[in-house]
């Protein structure tokens, strides 16, 4: 069976959930091989994790020459890996978690390999037909790569991770990074502070606040914590400096597709919808009965979020005991 390269999503060797989703999807297309860009001494631990989701091989690509520069070296490394794989037993597809960085890697890789590219897939079926959600979630599009090796970036929450035993054979891969790929240097990195809450794009429940919070996110955060949810924000809340940009949901922030999305004090502008419209269940609290967000909701409360949310938080805690 042909190989499917799956780029592992991780933070310093800590494998993230989208990796398992991608491995699950990859098994529909061929034999998954996970690609780990990172420190070689973390390779074995990572392999142990990904082989539970069907990774037959784990390419460990030492990122010493890669991590100091933006995007281009990763694209070169994947090109070399893809060429090796094609020459060996055939390459069915390359899957990457759909982050901004990986979309850029995928774009460069597509040109290098002469392959078609599909970004932001929310599903990939057997045969490689992808589903995308476009125009702020108003349309779904079925598409297929028709030239070269399909390169597909896949959004978080696109599949339920299913375990399957893989061999997880570790193979060190040394990429040759050209000087031309080392021209955009990462001069400084400032890690974001951990919040202790689930990651926005991976969470099963997201509770968001907008301008209607008036800058006080306590009710929103309290309710989120009672549900074990991630916290999100509208751009208005981010632009006001109430929440960091990393929490923004929408066209120019994160796209989330949780089981439950709770919008509080958010009007429901098209650019906000673009980031949350595909949530399975949508709930809103807004004091304006005419707010457009109510057109989307499964359940809505017309009321002040600063009274509704704290009361609801207490009741959730009561029920959970």
């Amino acid at each position: 069976m042909s190989e499917v390269l799956v780029v592992i999503d991780h933070a310093d060797g800590e494998v993230k959930k989208p990796t398992y989703e991608l491995l699950t999807i990859a098994r529909r297309l061929g034999e998954p091989s996970a690609v780990f860009f990172g420190s070689p001494d973390q390779g074995d631990a990572v392999a142990e994790k990904v082989k539970k989701y069907g990774a037959e091989k784990v390419y460990v690509v030492d990122d010493a020459q890669i991590k100091g520069y933006l995007v281009a070296p990763k694209a070169e490394a994947l090109q070399q890996l893809a060429e090796k794989s094609s020459a060996a037993g055939g390459l069915a597809a390359i899957l990457l978690p759909s982050t901004f960085e990986n979309k850029e890697v995928a774009g460069r890789l597509a040109i290098k390999l002469g392959s078609g590219l599909i970004t932001d897939a929310v599903d990939v079926a057997e045969g490689g037909v992808t589903t995308q959600s476009v125009f702020a979630g108003n349309y779904t599009v079925q598409a297929k790569v028709t030239q070269g090796t399909p390169i597909i970036t896949v959004k978080p929450n696109s599949a339920a991770p299913e375990e399957a035993a893989g061999a997880g054979a570790v193979e060190a891969f040394t990429a040759t990074v050209s000087d031309a790929a080392k021209t955009a240097q990462i001069v400084a990195t400032q890690p974001r502070q951990a919040t202790g809450r689930p990651e926005l794009t991976e969470a099963a429940i997201v509770v968001s606040g907008g301008r209607g919070t008036g800058g006080n996110f306590e009710s929103v955060e309290g309710f989120a914590d009672s549900l074990g949810a991630a916290v999100g924000a509208s751009r208005a809340a981010v632009d006001s400096g109430w929440m960091p940009h990393a929490f923004q949901v929408g066209q120019t922030g994160k796209t989330v597709s949780p089981q439950l999305y709770v919008a509080n004090g958010i009007s429901g502008a098209i650019q906000h919808r673009a980031g949350m419209q595909t949530s399975k269940t949508i709930v809103a609290v807004n004091k304006d009965p005419e707010a457009p967000i109510f057109e989307l909701v499964d359940f809505g409360v017309v009321g002040d979020l600063h009274t509704v949310l704290p009361a609801a938080t207490d009741k959730v805690k009561e029920r959970k005991g």
């Binding site: 995928a106 599909i118 940009h245 120019t252 509704v308 009361a311």
Partner: protein, 262 residues
């Protein structure tokens, strides 16, 4: 110094966007405009020049798109760009990222650029891939998704929000830069700017002007093909309650429990 700003003409996001029978984006039946996210690119190009008083800097606004796409260039000229380039050719219709980036790269080479500025994404395709592809094709450093841009001489530094961190990226001109909507509000064209734009040079190029073979672009040779599009069924109206003396919280928690979220 030459700056080229890539501006895309897109269907208005607040209108009912739809597809043609061949599954390409309807760019004619729906009102279009300069992509809002490319206004930030024009703004940063203008600010780049404004910070370099006394230097001879020319800003060219470039678009690849149908007849009406020239509106995107006009808006950029009104904001303050010096000249416009519109690449239009029937053969380009339905092009994918690969072909679009090819045509853009050829046009940029023709104009000549020390700095290429793009938006963070087009508001219709929202791929965020064209700037990276341009860097690949032009062999320039890729300095993308900037929220803060600083430069001195031929050195450029930007701030970029990544998944788990904020990074500072440094590179030497010529570069491909893309900017986010965090980079600062774009200016409105002034009355003077609108009048001045009418006299600014605007070149129209076809594929042959750029030396691009028509067989390399367009829908029929796209490396990915759309097989179907479906309009999402409107969400069925949900239940809306009005909070009175705590009834809202009760109803909300009741709903969440009924859906097994608690």
């Amino acid at each position: 110094m030459n700056i080229v700003v890539c501006v895309k003409y897109v269907p208005d996001a607040t209108a009912d966007r739809k597809f043609e029978d061949d599954y390409t984006v309807d760019r004619v039946g729906v009102d279009g405009l300069l992509s809002e996210l490319d206004e930030y690119a024009v703004e940063q190009a203008l600010q780049f020049r404004e910070k370099r008083e006394g230097e001879d800097i020319e800003i060219t606004a470039l678009t690849v798109g149908p007849e009406k796409a020239v509106d995107a260039v006009r808006k950029a000229l009104q904001m303050g760009a010096d000249k416009g380039v519109h690449v239009v050719d029937d053969a380009i219709a339905g092009s994918d990222y690969i072909a679009t980036s090819l045509v853009l790269a050829k046009a940029i080479e023709k104009v000549g650029a020390d700095l290429v500025v793009c938006g963070m994404a087009s508001t219709d395709a929202s791929g965020s891939v064209v700037p990276a592809m341009l860097a690949e094709r032009l062999g320039m450093p890729q300095v993308t998704l900037a929220s803060v841009i600083e430069s001195q001489g031929d050195q450029v530094r930007i701030k970029r929000d990544n998944e788990g961190s904020t990074e500072v990226i440094g590179a030497t001109l010529p570069i491909v830069l893309s900017v986010t909507d965090q980079s600062g509000e774009a200016r409105y064209p002034s009355f003077k700017g609108i009048m001045a734009a009418k006299k600014k040079p605007l070149d129209t190029f076809s594929l042959s002007d750029l030396g691009v073979d028509a067989g390399q672009v367009g829908l029929s040779v796209a490396w990915s093909q759309v097989e179907d599009t479906t309009e999402r069924p409107p969400r069925t109206a949900g239940e809306i309650v009005t909070d009175e003396d705590g009834s809202g919280a009760d109803a909300l928690v009741g709903f969440l429990a009924s859906k097994k979220f608690i």
